[in-house]
Symmetry: C2
DNA sequence: ATGGTTAATATGTCTAGACATAATGCAAGT
DNA sequence: ACTTGCATTATGTCTAGACATATTAACCAT
């Protein structure tokens, strides 16, 4: 029976958990481990690289590999298109375009996207419905520079979905906060103002510059679930 | 100048974004790409594996590699120990153990951890302080079976931190919700009841069974930030 | 002591070739 | 028509060896 990289990883992990190699300790080099397990160094490397990605060990050239002092847990969040999110919950999906206009974006918006003050941007307000009931209110500022010549009809395809399939997003960030429902949100989504809402704020950048800043106000009770 | 796997990845990504290989399309096999770029197949494999992990392409043995129809964006959340989170914000850290007792856990708690109804569990209530002000109220149900013979003193080291360094956590999940502050939370953290709070609920399982269920109620204004 | 240079070393990556594994689609048998 | 089995094929993994790169520690010169 020959060992694979996953078995190497399992054994290394076992030794770390058993405190044979305590936090902060220096682990034998790849060459030594390769010899011990009777595999090629590349196989050990594969296993160690995986553990490093998981945050269990820290590796530095020349300095060697050591067990992480305080292993940082990493959770992965998969952000689906809202339509698929809703359908995945077994509910019917629909959306309404509540607003679509071009105007000068407020300073906080341009600032966060790194655009000059007073840039004219497309403002979109979309209410996503799940099973006929409000699911998410999306308010979006979109950089018109990234849109094609005949701009897409966001009443037919939601901006959320159009962007995923037509713009190559490079990087971005999401922040989750709990906020009281604004009067506008309360009115549109049919709830009392001040109701706690889970709000996700995303900025995304593409190859040709800033793309969009979007605020997703989720209906009460919404859970964002992650596994690790 | 010789190509590395990151350059292969960049070029493949460029072709996908440029729609030379549109969503759903079948990409040439590793062998073909290796020949085209003049590198070994393992190098192409490294690049493709990375793109698959990022959700840009989907790979299946025999069936080949195709461009993802709706690229699922994946964001990574790093969950540090609360103490380091606070120190990382340039604030002093402190915590107070408000409650520490053993009692029968409520049914929802045992159910979520997969323990028998009425199991006696350790209940801990910890207030984490940042710069002397309430930061997070942690309410935790801990499976006493995983604790060592002389149980640790959670007044000296927070349970949060003790668990990370002493229990090998295998899997778990986190859910974020927005909830109104309970009377207890409002009292302890000094705010009006009903104030929207960002709540994280985590369950974790170790090698020897369920470990803990914890609820972290964050002070108003708290942001959970992720990058992708 | 102090600062800069150099050699040693552990990890990172690559090559060329091999076998393993899984999924597909065709062919044969019921 | 339907199922079963098998050959095919693309990805997954491994080996043994090589060179690249970052970083440390030792050394030397000021």
């Amino acid at each position: 029976m020959t060992l694979g990289w996953e078995e190497i990883r399992a054994e290394v992990l076992r030794r770390i958990r058993a405190r044979e190699w305590p936090p902060g300790a220096l682990i034998p080099g790849e060459e030594a481990l390769a010899e011990e397990f009777g595999v090629a160094r590349a196989t050990v490397n594969r296993a160690m690289r995986d553990l490093a990605e998981a945050g269990v060990i820290e590796r530095k050239k020349r300095a060697g590999t050591r067990v992480a002092e305080l292993p940082v847990r990493r959770a992965r969040l998969e952000i689906p298109v809202i339509r698929l999110d809703v359908l995945g919950r077994g509910l019917t999906y629909d959306f309404k375009l509540l607003a679509d206009r071009v105007e000068r974006a407020p300073i906080p918006v341009t600032a966060r996207l790194g655009l000059p003050e007073g840039t004219a941007m497309r403002y979109l307000e979309t209410l996503h419905l799940a099973g006929g009931r409000p699911f998410v209110l999306e308010t979006r500022w979109l950089n018109p520079a990234i849109l094609p010549a005949p701009p897409p009809d966001f009443a037919a395809v939601s901006a959320n979905e159009w962007l995923v399939t037509h713009v190559s997003l490079v990087s971005g960030d999401i922040a989750f906060t709990a906020e009281p429902a604004t009067p506008r949100e309360a009115e549109v989504m049919g709830m009392a103002p001040g109701t706690p809402l889970l709000v996700a704020e995303r900025t995304t950048h593409g190859t040709t510059g800033p793309v969009t800043l979007v605020r997703l106000a989720h209906a009460p009770g919404h859970r964002v679930q992650m596994t690790f």
